[in-house]
Symmetry: C2
Subunit: 590 residues, 2 copies
């Protein structure tokens, strides 16, 4: 036996018990007559004490232990003279009677502490040491809890977890597939699924009624920060449902996760239309932890002689409450530079300060009288001390810029409280997105999304603007400004699905070759159905207020898609290539 | 809303309630004045009744419904005049008031009944219809329960489910990898994991202490019946454990699964050594649902002038109880032919019948006197009516043949009771297996398995027989003659792991290139650890007494590795190949 207790469980109640512990040497302090060792395992840290007077030889061996040595200790639980209130085991220590070295350790390349001195690359290469650190370990444990509670909750509602295949068929639509050459069917390839979308719809046709799966998905895209080639989805589908059935069910899931894991009660989720989200917040995933809606001012400010506004499709702004008097010219210049950065790309920024003393200061005072601005302020319910920041330009671009400016001012004004959660649904997304480059429509969600019933009649239109105005039965769950999940009611009618493929530029042959099995399934009694998928790591990150999903992945890949710990991917033996019937195209041949 | 009840839940208690049901038309019976429809969903079947007198038009529409149409019914719950005790909803029926067709269906290509008229290929192509059938649906639901209870149980014991990557590095050792060309690292390939073995060991080095994962594994082997290119494992690892800790923990898991799902209490599991299993049952996964141990008779029967026995390395047999008098010459000829089949490949079969009247009949009566055989019978505790079947030849081959004969006689004599479970552990497997073809040792379990401490000293031997006799700290869980799981205590010492790689014929460079990250990890405080993996589908099949694991997989592949429903794998576009930097080797070029 290696241990009869963990390093996290001994308390005063165990006083004078003989115990056996195993773990890693976190640190050791040599105080002359005494040597103290902090022994660590997954569950905690327990202090071990070696006394020169009691056993000189044992104490001397203890002094030789290096950091991260794996040792076993037989000893007696004693009360500590100086207790450590910050540690659950801080009332006791173990008087060592025997020390066994289970494994030695080289000096680790970075410190195994909450704040490590190791850089990103080093920590990834030695990920097994990085995971020993509390912040990483805790995130992996947290993720386990989220996955387990998800499974318990959905299972309690008669959802069945069903595994769908990972070796499927490549479809050119959407993101790029990872592919797997088939040895038994040479010249042919499997694809790794970007999501189990078609399989979960097939399961609805198969009558499974309520499906879920916590499942790996794969996308061979160029990697940006926080995007991994493989990632995990909570994937769900329900039959015989309308949109509200799905929203209520998965609002329930999220409430359960917050309640059971964080002990936070989320209130009922609002529904906000995509159009309203864009109009009021300039983004389809608003952060509602602070208000500051975008004010549309085109009608108010146009045709008063200020050329920038007069020529603009949209003039809009945000009200920054209570900072008019404290916001210096330097501050104004800084935020003006911020909106002019290429990422935001605004031409400039107009301010109107409604000072506490009732005076007005504005960068466009030349064009608008104080009286005019006072009236505008009254209409907008501006209070003394508020500052209005205004942008102008083309509609789509400017409202988006105003949304970015709103988020930035929210951050600068520290309007976001730690530990607060604002969760809601964005609904009624457009069905189609026009792509200027390829001069065709793409599905905003995916090609299986149903239009809203009241917009079905527009599908036959040839007018691009009419087509753009078709709304989809699609929805996103948004928490604190992040999309944690999204889904839709699906098409379950073969004719409608074919029509949709046609709108998206698929020829009949292409649709048949890629999705013939699904179209075929629709002919054998497909029930109405819909679903949703959540990013598991995203859900974890939002719940813990973390900004990176990579922390929740035990073995993430870097931005070149490499795992630096195992040093993969790697070249294959010629024999393996031969068996697969493939050859590498040398650089010369290109 | 599509429904307010499922088709499985209405009872007498719901009498006269207005209900809304949705589902599939299982069958319809037109009895003149009345039309009955069986409406089916995942949860059950409810009878709907349409009455000509009440509503002629409604009744006429109902008559036009085809099998597998998806419909919605508004109606009133009524008591049935002729109840159906075989159906949970059999006391009631729904008096239809409104019928809505949600989707039509073509006539399905096979019947959606427990016993379908569809062949294997047809059912795989239309898997979404096959899954509507009860036996398939029930297996998928059962599998969900096994996975969920596994997760609950292991989580309750502080195991953490941690996802390991699917895009890893190819290793030539072991079975053939599926590989994935890397676009971002051209000329290099990921491999899909055959198991997360090295990652779970890394997680032990990382201090996660108790890991599990229900995880997909991939092997590109030639497919036999019941072998899938992708399959699911319950994969587990623990740190600071000895063999007994692991056996007890996972015996606990299996007891929990049987108790919580089947309400069967498994008794404590025996431990049987690999050597004893082979000696007594001729196989490393004996079916202990019946006794019939192999009797070793070499010393008893040799040197009595029967040339076949005299020249044999092993003479052994089984006692078939109580059939001596009823087992005809024809029966004997049949079982003799059976052991002579190429799959078994015995030269012949000797019988000795101890008849009820005390007489003896034997195919070797010429060589052994009745008295001799009576004495042999006494020694073997044979009773009147028993029959002895005897094989002879080389040791390894003959004991295996006797094991096969034992299983076959168990089946023919119907010694196996339905619903009985015999679960136990086989332990102390050999560490190494000698391969005559390649003239090298292979790891019987895998290269990370630790030798038993008491056999460590043999590792330095150069004597092949000494090396063959090294036992591993490996174990298999066997239930009803099937291996449901297996594992081992791992090596956690770099030097020992290197020595083991050397024994297996790895050069230092090969070991470093393939497993350098693991060897490196062992230098930074690797704890003692070990683990086990179960085949999820195998566990399900054993629990339900099913012989095929394929039934538990929602979308299995056929023996050519194809999914006939989606018709994959499939050729790639040239553009995709170009992006990956690979080319197909045409048949001409080979």
């Amino acid at each position: 036996m290696y241990r009869n207790h963990t390093c996290g469980e001994l308390r005063i109640a165990h006083l004078n018990q003989e115990v056996l512990l195993s773990g890693w040497v976190q640190s050791s302090r040599n105080l002359g007559g005494m040597t103290f060792i902090d022994l660590r395992d997954r569950y905690g840290i327990t202090q071990i004490v070696f006394n020169m007077e009691d056993d000189e030889q044992l104490c001397m061996s203890a002094r030789k232990l290096g950091r991260e040595y794996v040792i076993q200790i037989n000893g007696i639980v004693k009360e500590r003279s100086s207790k450590n209130a910050n540690r659950p085991t801080g009332d006791i220590e173990i008087q060592a009677q025997k020390l066994t070295i289970l494994n030695a350790s080289q000096v680790p390349p970075f410190t195994i502490e909450d704040e490590s001195d190791g850089g990103d690359e080093l920590r990834m290469k030695y990920r097994y040491l990085d995971i020993r650190r509390n912040p990483v370990k805790e995130k992996i444990l947290f993720r386990h809890n989220v996955a387990l509670e998800t499974r318990k909750y959905l299972s309690s509602l008669d959802f069945t977890e069903i595994e769908t295949p990972y070796l499927i068929k490549s479809t050119p639509e959407g993101a790029r597939d990872f592919v797997v050459p088939s040895r038994m069917n040479q010249g042919q390839f499997y694809a790794l699924p970007q999501s189990p979308q078609t399989f979960k719809q097939i399961l609805m046709v198969a009558g499974m009624d309520r499906y879920f799966q916590i499942v790996r998905c794969f996308r061979d895209e160029d990697l940006r920060a926080d995007r991994q080639p493989e990632f995990t989805q909570i994937d769900c589908e329900m039959a015989f449902v309308e949109r509200e059935d799905i929203l209520n069910t998965f609002e329930g899931l999220m409430k359960h996760l917050f309640q059971s894991i964080l002990h936070v009660n989320l209130p009922d989720f609002q529904r906000m239309s995509y159009d309203d989200a864009l109009k009021d917040y300039g983004i389809d995933k608003p952060d509602l932890r602070f208000d500051m809606k975008i004010k549309h001012l085109t009608e108010d400010l146009k045709a008063h002689g200020f050329p920038v506004f007069d020529s603009a499709e949209l003039v809009c702004g945000i009200i920054c409450k209570g900072i008019a008097d404290s916001y210096s010219n330097k501050d104004i210049n800084e935020i003006t530079d911020w909106v002019k950065r290429p990422q935001i790309d605004a031409k400039g920024l107009v301010y109107i300060k409604y000072n506490l003393d009732g005076s007005i200061k504005s960068s466009v005072g030349k064009f608008y009288s104080d009286e005019f601005l006072q009236n505008l302020g009254k209409k907008l319910e501006v209070e003394p001390g508020d500052m209005l920041l205004i942008l102008a330009g083309g509609y789509d671009k400017t409202v988006k810029q105003a949304g970015e400016l709103r988020l930035e001012m929210g951050r600068r004004m520290k309007l976001i409280k730690e530990g607060e959660f604002k969760a809601f649904w964005v609904v009624d997304f457009p069905l189609l997105e026009w792509d200027e480059d390829s001069q065709r429509f793409f599905a905003m969600h995916h090609p299986f999304t149903s239009p809203l019933p009241q917009d079905l009649h527009k599908l036959n239109s040839t007018d691009r603007d009419v087509l753009k105005s078709i709304r989809a039965a699609a929805y996103d769950m948004v928490i604190n400004g992040a999309e944690v999940g999204g889904g839709s009611i699906r098409i379950h009618d073969r004719a409608l699905q074919s029509q949709n493929f046609k709108l998206l530029g698929f020829s009949e042959e292409e649709a048949e070759a890629q999705f013939g099995f699904l179209l075929g399934a629709f002919e054998y009694g497909a029930p109405p159905h819909g679903g949703i998928a959540f990013g598991l790591d995203r859900v974890c990150a939002i719940m813990q207020g973390s900004t990176s999903i990579r922390d929740y992945i035990a073995f993430p890949k870097n931005n070149q898609g490499r795992d630096t710990m195992i040093d993969g991917p790697s070249p294959l033996d010629q024999k393996q290539l031969d068996e697969l019937g493939i050859a590498l195209r040398s650089n010369e041949a290109k």
